[in-house]
């Protein structure tokens, strides 16, 4: 298993998408910093912005592009036959790939926290940095689950970067609309908007100020757990199905 993960990581060496992902993660806080300094925001504002724009928008988009290239790699480069003739156990291979994607998402969260800390230092407010740290780790973990539908979508598409790219964008945008608005999401739609669900579940810890509207749209633990389990269940079935199809072609 470890060999598989190391192998998958090696395959990313010198790849453009790897470099892009890293640069995007590191560059993203800069515009946030500029806005923060221009408006003399405090820590709560900085953190709210990083969660909204970074964790819930930039990160899913980047991770989607990354996962797309990562999952299409073998077929694109015709190395599937080499993997199959070893033979690499399909289940373990899928797990290794998912673990690498989870790793990227964790790295992204760490960068976000670090960025909020740096920006905080600049504006002279680093209050609540530890609680922010814990919340962001939590977001990172929950976001891994929330991105499963996107990965299911990627795996079940033919290797068409443009179509899949557009679908990823639509998925992230739909979620983002509900992150920025205070419209209630009907219960049946929650499993399909998992990024928004994560955001609304953790709203009390990330919002600058809890208003009555925000309280109304905050998800209870039960609602959230139900929606997430539903998302995970459906996604995992489709991921296994799609990966099996790609693998045995």
């Amino acid at each position: 298993m470890l060999n598989l993960v190391i192998g998958e990581l090696t395959k990313l060496k010198r790849k453009k998408i790897t470099i892009c992902t890293i640069i995007a993660a590191c560059m993203f806080p800069i515009p946030v910093a500029i806005m923060v300094i221009a408006n003399s925001y405090d820590m709560k504002n900085i953190f709210a912005m990083l969660v909204q724009l970074g964790d819930c928008f930039m990160m899913p988009l980047m991770l989607g592009m990354f996962a797309m290239i990562f999952f299409y790699m073998e077929q694109d480069l015709d190395t599937m036959k080499n993997m199959r003739l070893i033979p690499v156990p399909m289940g373990k291979w899928l797990c290794a790939k998912l673990m690498v994607i989870a790793l990227v998402s964790v790295i992204y969260s760490v960068v976000t926290i670090f960025a909020s800390f740096l920006i905080g230092l600049v504006v002279g407010d680093i209050s609540g940095i530890w609680s922010n740290f814990i919340i962001n780790v939590l977001i990172g973990i929950l976001m891994c689950a929330a991105l499963l539908p996107m990965i299911a979508l990627i795996i079940n598409q033919k290797n068409n970067y443009i179509v899949t790219g557009i679908l990823i964008f639509i998925f992230v945008m739909l979620n983002f609309i509900f992150i920025m608005s205070i419209t209630k999401i009907p219960a049946w739609a929650l499993p399909f908007l998992p990024i928004a669900a994560v955001y609304r579940f953790l709203l009390p810890y990330t919002a600058v100020k809890m208003t009555i509207y925000l309280e109304e749209i905050t998800l209870s633990g039960l609602q959230f757990a139900g929606a997430m389990l539903c998302t995970i269940f459906i996604s995992v079935i489709f991921i296994i199905f799609g990966f099996h199809k790609k693998y045995s072609r």
């Binding site: 395959k11 060496k13 015709d78």
Partner: protein, 307 residues
């Protein structure tokens, strides 16, 4: 238990309404080099993919080491090294890095496996050049290196000399021969180049339009097709008539307006020449010839032959 490392029985593959492989019975003996010869699109790759279980079998069966591969991949694949069509590797990695990934995943490979394999195919170890910058010949060599990485008993090589220059082809041929001769490996190799197979193989299978037209040992094939009598005469139809009537010869072919080929080399040519002259057919020349395998290939495929 058969002695064959690979044996197929009525192996058939149908793509849509096209029968790419049609009831093929291959027999690859242990320790031998088996050359699968066929033109582009003959079905060589498809046969190899079915043997390896990389594509489904429409009907018939393919046994490797006496077993059906399906469900046995974990036990059988480590005993096989294969290249199928173009070599597939990661272009952002060096040749060594590529092989190290696969060696690591195999787990069974010896510590020096990557270095040794690269040495065999004549590529530098720990070179900085990325696979994406490799020439076609280098790519092909890396593909072969990957196939021999884990020291398998059976090699299945689909056109391994594709894209190599003449010296490269000779090199690859030599080490393939060596793998069989000194290390006892069984090798199934495909090619569309007749001379290549002729120089390399112990056994040969000729495939055309998915049908295995002939399967025999190389030496037998050479014996069987080597000799014929080339007869040049002024009047071919008349000569043919005389051969059939007076000498009971049916095993001949007409090459052109003035030339006949007689495949019964035990024929008394003195008598034939005399009789032809008597019957007013001028004999321009007559003599024993060696048929090349290429002619033979042309004849049995009924086509243009092969370069």
């Amino acid at each position: 238990m058969s002695d064959y490392v690979i044996e197929t029985k009525q192996l058939t593959k149908v793509y849509g309404d096209q029968t790419a492989v049609n009831a093929v019975n291959l027999h690859v003996k242990k320790g031998q080099i088996y050359g699968l010869l066929g033109r582009n699109g003959a079905g060589k790759t498809t046969i190899m993919k079915m043997i390896l279980g990389l594509t489904s079998i429409t009907s018939g069966e393919a046994n490797v080491f006496g077993k059906n591969i399906k469900g046995q991949e974990k036990r059988v694949y480590p005993r096989i090294g294969a290249i199928i069509e173009t070599p597939g590797f990661y272009p952002n990695l060096t040749g060594t890095e590529n092989l190290e990934i696969f060696a690591r995943l195999r787990g069974t490979a010896a510590p020096n496996a990557v270095k040794n394999a690269l040495e065999v195919v004549g590529l530098p170890y720990k070179d900085k050049k990325l696979f994406g910058k490799y020439s076609l010949g280098m790519k092909q060599r890396l593909g072969i290196a990957n196939a021999i990485l884990h020291d398998p008993e059976l090699l299945i090589l689909d056109e391994p000399t594709n894209g190599l220059d003449p010296i490269g082809i000779a090199e690859v041929r030599n080490f393939i021969k060596d793998l069989s001769a000194s290390r006892g490996k069984t090798i199934l190799i495909s090619s569309h180049i007749l001379s290549e197979i002729q120089l390399l193989a112990d056994d040969i299978g000729i495939i055309d339009h998915g049908v295995l037209l002939e399967e025999s040992s190389m030496s037998e094939l050479e014996k069987k097709n080597r000799k014929y009598i080339l007869l040049q005469v002024s009047d071919v139809p008349k000569a043919a008539l005389i051969l059939e009537r007076q000498f009971q010869q049916k095993n001949y072919s007409v090459q052109d307006d003035h030339t006949l080929r007689l495949y019964d080399t035990s024929l008394d040519m003195g008598a034939v020449n005399k009789e032809l002259v008597v019957q007013d057919v001028t004999v321009i020349s007559s003599g024993l010839c060696n048929d090349t395998l290429e002619d033979y290939f042309k004849r049995i495929t009924g086509g243009e032959g092969i370069a």
